[in-house]
């Protein structure tokens, strides 16, 4: 089944190149409206065992709504969802047994210690006694929390709380993990720890639906991408597939004042004092541009090559730079530390 096509003539596949035999999450024609505003417009998606599928898009794209509906927290207006073959809309409880959710907002019990927080979800999964203690130790160790088990969660750092928040979703060994911006607000150590853990869980066979704002994180995870825009799937594939299909490198020429009018023909875009040229041959483009500028070459202040990456995929598909806030053209908004995938 084809996804809802926002832009471009080609249909969007519901699944990405990375394959395992078993489809864990299957979404078909998912629709949702709030007060007459359509926030999901026919989402189709497959996530296989062992796959990390990254839901990527600006605020309002529909990432959290998809996660909430799959987790049984909101009702769908139309469409179907199955988790490991179980109809998640008709048999929500059976499906929830296979789902681990770490919601977007921090959700921990601050007055209990780390072990107390993990215990609840272990007990809900039917674990008791020695098995429960063993699982708590195992999950805590996986997230570097083993030395903090007796610490009250309210007294932990923000990054440590984030790790507890994620650990709570893992207690019952879910087949499908729904991680909604779990690294938001994390320190570098916690972010690295969480990313490593997600990779490990996928390697062990879990399917992971990983919602994020941060483009570099998707590449770090080796995740397939579900690029969302205004409640529809804009593109679906692995990062190399999307880059090969949609993106080319760009060279940005910065001038001390507006760029000269007479420039070589090609795919160019002007923004203030910057001239942007999309090209498959950045080095050749730079040489040709400098030659053609003649005396105007002295007005050139900087030259940057923006390698083809997810950001340029987004740029190619939407005509604007990626911004987590949505709709904008923020220059350095693609990563927690302003990382943009640029190369000087």
């Amino acid at each position: 089944m084809d996804g809802h096509v926002v832009r471009g003539a080609r249909p969007i596949p519901a699944e990405a190149g990375r394959r395992s035999a078993e489809v864990i999450l299957r979404i078909d024609g998912l629709r949702k409206s709030y007060r007459g505003v359509e926030v999901l417009r026919g989402i189709d998606l497959r996530v296989h065992a062992g796959e990390v599928a990254s839901l990527l898009g600006p605020n309002g794209a529909g990432k959290s709504t998809i996660v909430s509906i799959v987790a049984g927290l909101r009702r769908a207006d139309a469409g179907s969802i199955t988790v490991a073959g179980v109809d998640a809309l008709a048999r929500s409880r059976a499906a929830r047994r296979m789902i681990g959710l770490a919601p977007q907002e921090l959700a921990v019990c601050p007055v209990l210690d780390v072990a107390g927080n993990l215990r609840l979800f272990g007990e809900l999964a039917g674990l008791r006694g020695r098995a429960l203690r063993a699982r708590i130790g195992e999950v805590a160790a996986g997230l570097g929390l083993d030395g903090l088990l007796n610490r009250q969660v309210g007294r932990l750092s923000g990054g440590q709380k984030r790790r507890v928040h994620t650990a709570m979703a893992l207690m019952h060994r879910p087949r499908l993990l729904l991680l909604d911006e779990v690294t938001a607000g994390s320190d570098v150590e916690s972010r690295a720890c969480l990313v490593d853990l997600v990779r490990k869980l996928a390697a062990e066979g879990a399917a992971v639906l990983y919602s994020t704002h941060y483009l570099p994180e998707v590449e770090m995870l080796g995740a397939s991408v579900v690029l969302l825009e205004a409640g529809a799937v804009l593109a679906r594939g692995t990062v190399p597939e999307l880059v090969a299909e949609h993106a080319v490198a760009t060279v940005e020429f910065g001038f001390v004042d507006p760029p000269p009018v007479a420039i070589p023909a090609g795919a160019t875009q002007r923004r203030g004092n910057v001239l942007r040229v999309a090209t498959a041959d950045p080095a050749g483009t730079i040489v040709a541009m400098v030659r053609s500028l003649g005396d105007d070459a002295g007005r050139l202040r900087s030259v940057e090559i923006v390698q083809a990456n997810l950001e340029t995929v987004y740029l190619a598909l939407t005509g604007r730079r990626y911004s987590p806030e949505g709709g904008g053209a923020a220059r350095n908004a693609t990563g927690p530390a302003g990382a943009t995938g640029r190369r000087p």
């Binding site: 927290l73 929830r96 919601p103 019990c109 609840l120 007990e123 809900l124 039917g126 008791r128």
Partner: protein, 256 residues
């Protein structure tokens, strides 16, 4: 597979255990109040009318039921608190059903209410010579019925409240009204006639009817049967109304 509601209940107990003052003050404060009003109530039962124990025989059941009524809505804060912590959605996404989550959260508060009433009775027996002249099993069943009924009433208040301030106000008003109209603060015989007319419409009235039969009149299970049935009927009514009004997806605002 173990019952998931038990896991929720154990968790709620652990959270309550982080607030020991809640349970302790729930026993200490009523004891202080009993010590203050027992002599006032001696006239109500007549000097030595209750085997020489005087007003304490009236004050202890009354204050026990009154504090259970005052505290009916506090369980609601467990729901508001979970919403504020974000753990409510986690529970909803867990394998537990709606009913299991709600019952699991209510059970510890009903148990706390029962423990506080029993604690008050035991401490009053030691300090003031309070005596249960009838059946202890009947007394325990009556207290259990009272705790369950007022917990269901608290669930109803919670279901109708969208903010914690609403719950706080409604709980305060309803708690005092139930305690006063049911005769828990002052016996209905000492109140205006209209109070005696409306009192049977409150669960606190039936709780006290049963307790008085057991404590003052050497009553047994048979004597307490009608009040116990009345409490069960109130419990069912509150539970049905709460279930009708409760919105699992509704956002509750902890403050605002």
């Amino acid at each position: 597979m173990r019952w998931p509601g038990a896991a929720v209940a154990r968790h709620e107990f652990r959270v309550i255990a982080t607030m020991p003052g809640l349970a302790i003050f729930g026993i200490v404060l009523p004891i202080v109040l009993v010590s203050m009003i027992k002599s006032l109530l001696t006239g109500t039962v007549g000097s030595g009318g209750a085997g020489g124990a005087g007003g304490v025989q009236i004050a202890v059941p009354g204050i026990a039921v009154a504090f259970a009524a005052f505290g009916a809505g506090r369980l609601g804060f467990a729901f508001f608190r979970d919403q504020a912590w974000g753990t409510w959605d986690r529970l909803r996404a867990s394998p537990a059903s709606t009913l299991e989550i709600v019952v699991g959260k209510l059970l510890p508060w009903a148990a706390l209410s029962l423990v506080q009433m029993l604690g008050l009775i035991l401490v009053a027996a030691a300090l003031f010579g309070f005596r249960v002249r009838g059946s202890w099993p009947a007394l325990v069943i009556l207290l259990l019925g009272t705790a369950t009924c007022l917990t269901a009433f608290g669930a109803l208040l919670t279901a109708f409240s969208r903010t914690s301030q609403q719950l706080n106000v409604v709980n305060g008003v309803c708690g005092v009204a139930l305690a006063a109209l049911g005769g828990a603060l002052v016996p209905t015989s000492a109140l205006p006639h209209w109070v005696a007319v409306v009192a049977p419409a409150t669960p606190t009235y039936w709780a006290l009817q049963g307790l008085h039969r057991v404590v003052l009149q050497r009553g047994g299970l048979a004597d307490a049967a009608v009040p116990i049935l009345a409490l069960l009927a109130f419990t069912a009514g509150f539970a049905v109304l709460a279930a009708y009004r409760f919105r699992f997806e509704e956002s509750k605002v902890y403050w605002g």
